[in-house]
Structures are given as structure tokens and as C-alpha cells.
Symmetry: C2
Subunit: 317 residues, 2 copies
Amino acid sequence: MVGVDVGGTNTVFGIVDARGNIIATDKVKTAAYETAEEYADAVCAGIQKLIDANGGSEKVKGVGIGAPNGNYYNGTIEFAPNLRWKGVIPLAALFEERLHIPSVLTNDANAAAIGEMTYGAARGMKNFIMITLGTGVGSGIVINGQLVYGCDGFAGELGHVIVRENGRVCGCGRHGCLEAYCSATGVARTAREFLTSRAEPSLLRNIPSEEITSKDVYDAAIQGDKIACEIFDYTGTILGEALANFIAFSSPEAIILFGGLAHAGDLIFKPVQKAIDANILNIFKGKAKLLPSELKDSDAAVLGASALGWEIKEPVE
Amino acid sequence: MVGVDVGGTNTVFGIVDARGNIIATDKVKTAAYETAEEYADAVCAGIQKLIDANGGSEKVKGVGIGAPNGNYYNGTIEFAPNLRWKGVIPLAALFEERLHIPSVLTNDANAAAIGEMTYGAARGMKNFIMITLGTGVGSGIVINGQLVYGCDGFAGELGHVIVRENGRVCGCGRHGCLEAYCSATGVARTAREFLTSRAEPSLLRNIPSEEITSKDVYDAAIQGDKIACEIFDYTGTILGEALANFIAFSSPEAIILFGGLAHAGDLIFKPVQKAIDANILNIFKGKAKLLPSELKDSDAAVLGASALGWEIKEPVE
């Protein structure tokens, strides 16, 4: 199986065996290609090279692609703000034309959820929610063992559930989205707010305000910095409140946290769990486990995309 | 097929043909029976009488039961606050013992969703959300053509999504649930709040405050009463904001409103639609239709429960 992770900067692709071992990988610069066709030429040439060096096309059953704003139903990338090519890009079709291998595409958070279900913490689970905490907040929802795509292929945008009335402006143009608080950039915004509104000393005051990242907040928090710890509490509380609502929707067996912030361990997991417990409806108490992803960040995108390939049952329409 | 609607006051049951025509119905007083066994005796005797009068047991493929706090996986009613029998009641098993017909049970909102999918506004839809606006707010969620039950059988409690931080106390003991605002009792609470906090004249001031019902608010609103119309606007706005968030979860083809409040027509549909449009993420704009149920209230519960019977594929485990 081939997995392709389309990122704003790099596109990483690799060959993955049935046990989830990455056999070989390579990458190209996503932004270096003016048209989607030239980009597809370059990525597919790279993939073909890997395939030829590792047993040939007969052994490759499918290509799975994870991409921002990816639409599973059409195999298209639609209006992705962080990519150069505008409008609707039929990327799965462009790959199939070049590789003559069935190709499927979904958004990156869905790919991560499939990776987790196939190789990670959600193995054997039929109902779980994957929350990806990165530059943005994404989600992949699995119900009855199936990814939820909805009527249009775009279901599972939990980063854009509004959690605060008239709250922070979000990149989507609305106010109060979960993403505006619980993404890496949301954490940095919280840091700037807290440093302005409070007088206590903080290690974070040594960094120019506009340059503070979520990593800086983490570094300060593990040194016991009070404001940094409160930033994690604040972030985790908002996330936990939102998760308690999501549980009322699909009553999942587990919620899996993935991405940068999820590596903060207890700093984030404790306030999230506390807020879930404080806000959850009685009948759901203690049911959904809160788990960290078991996929390595560096591998997860390619693994997840490749796992999508296992979903190929018939030629993509 | 037999449909059974277990209500706090009455239990209505009926025989339904494959086209959704109710052939015969009868009812018993739910609260008149001290034990669940005696209750099952009475209901099943009534069902057997209908069956015998309408072609005999061979023609009946299954019994579908809609009940508050119903758990599809176990066929049990679990800790229903409005029923006499406490704890976990294995109602489907009690019915099977007596009728020797496969019996399945789910909560009333899920039964309504199945009824809508089989006979109503959701025919042919694979992804929709049914919202039941009654004394409480319930929901049935259909994804990929399947009811969402989650890991425990209780998924789809959208009436208990928290929509207002530190909001109204809800019957569930928490604060700010959708149900505390958008149920019939929620509308009556809003009326009492508005009448206290505003000075304008209103037809509702002719009714003792504690006796105002959502029906009174409706009657006043269709006569153009300003406060009554504002109560509907307020209710619809909160519901529409919540629905915009639900759409980000499962991107449904339609959201179907069912029950008392849904009969208020434009009074409720207009503010709901307006709030959806104002709060929805761009990619979902204009996709999910907002529809009234096409099932008659008086028939819906029995029809929905009977339609559940069509889901029986193998003996209930």
C-alpha cells in the first residue's frame, strides 16, 4: 500500500506493508509546483521509483492520500486555503491516470483516524473520535466501524464547533470555534491574553509576545511556570467541555488525542478529563476513554493515508 | 409488524402493514401496573388480541418498541425517570417470552427517526438528524443509513448538549442543556422570564405565570403578540445555533423537526433557519435541509416503533 500525506510545505509518501511498517519513503516540496498536474507528475514519479525499487506494481493494491480539505466521495481537494492550487483539484484521478493504481483521498484528520483504527490506539474499536491538535483542530469520527463522511464528504469538522458565544475570531471567519482555543495557535493566543491580563511573573515574559508558540508554553509549564500551567488548564477545560458534548452525539468508546498538544501529557490530559467528568451527562459517565494516539507523529500521516488504501473495495467512481 | 409506544401515561400499540398503514390500535395505562411483568402481561394480552383479530401470528414478523431511556443493544429500559419501574427493565425479553415474536426496543426519538426514514420525510436519506421537540428534546441520528447507537446504545442525546455556559438548570441536573431552552417546558420558562424582565403588554399576562404552556405562547404568537413572537425567535435561535454545530459533526442531508413545537411552522422554522445560516461553517452552507416531520404525531410513535421491527434480521442476542 502507498500512503501520501499532502502538507502545505512537504508532500511525504511511502510504501507500507500490511503490518504498518513503513518500507520506504520520500518527499517533494508541495509548493514548488505551479499546477496540480505538474505536482501530480512529480509525486507519482517519486512513488513509481519507490514501487520499482520495492517489488513492483503488482504488490501495491492501492494509494491512499490524506490532504487538507480532502473529499472522500469525489477524490478531490476543495478550496484548500493552504495550497497553491485554487478551486477543486481531482487529485485521486490525477494519481490514478499516472500510476494506474486505485487511489482514494480523504482529509488528513480522517486519514489519521483510519491509521489509528488500523495500526494504533483504536484497533478493534467500532466507535471512536479522533481529535487532531495541530496548527488547527481536526477530527475523524468513526461510527459502526465506518468513517463518518456525511452527505457531502466533509463531516467531522469538530474544530469548527462553536464553543464560545461571541468568542475569538477563527480562521474560518466566525467566532468562538474550538480551533480558536485548542489549536497550537490557540494556545499561543491564550498565552498572549494571559500575559496581558495578569501581573504575575512568568518565564514567558522573556519571549517577545508575538513570537510565543505552544512549545514555549509547554517548556515553561514543565518548569512549573504558573501562568503556563494555567494556559494548559484553560485549553484543556474548553476541550473537555466540547468533548463532553461530542460524547452525547455518538457515545464513543474512546476519544483519541493526536498531534503536538497531545504530547503535553498530563498537562493537557488532566484538565481535559476533569472537564469531561464535570460536564458529561450522567448516563455517559466513565464510558468514553480519553487516550493519546499510538502513532508516531512523523509516521502517522503516511500510515493513516496508506491505511485508507485498505478501504478500497472497488474502483473509485 | 407490531409497534409499541411506551409513554409515561399511556402505552399505545398497533398493527402496521408494510406501507405504513395502521390496521388496528389499542392502549393500556402505563402507570397502572406495579411491576414490569404485570405491565408486560397486560400489553402483550392486548397485542395478542389485535393479532388474533387481524390474521394471526404468522403474519407478524416482529415487535418494535419505542420507550424512554430505551437501550437497543440490550432491549432494556434503563433508569427511566418518568416510569414507575426502577432500574433496568428487560422489556424486549419480557415481550418475547409472552408473544414468541422477535422484539426489539429503542428510545422514542430513535424510533421516530426510523419511522421518518421508513414512512416519512427522510425516505431514501442515508444521513439525517431527527430532533423531537416535546416535553423534552430528543434526537435520533442516522449515518450511512444506520441509527447511531454508540458504544452503549445511548448515543444521540442532543437535547443534553450544553448550549449555554452556566445556563438554565436542566432536568438532568446540569446547566445550559438545549432541552432547558427548546422543549415545550423550555418555551414556558422563557415566557416567564420574558414577562418578568419586560414591561410591554402581552396576551400572556392574562394567564397566571406558572400555568403558561408552550401552546399558550403559540396561540398568542399567531395573534401577533410581540413578546410571544420574541419567545419563538429566542427559542429558534438557540436551536439553530445548536443545529449548526450538529451539522459540523455529521453533515446530514436534512434535519427533521418533530413534535409539538415543530407544528408552530414559520414561527419556529424561520428563526431556526436564520440561526443555522448565521452560524454554519462555510463549506456546509445551504446543504442540510430543515424539514418538518411528515408523520402524524398521533401515529408517529407507533409507526416508528413498528418500523424498528423491519430492522430485525436475526434473533436478538
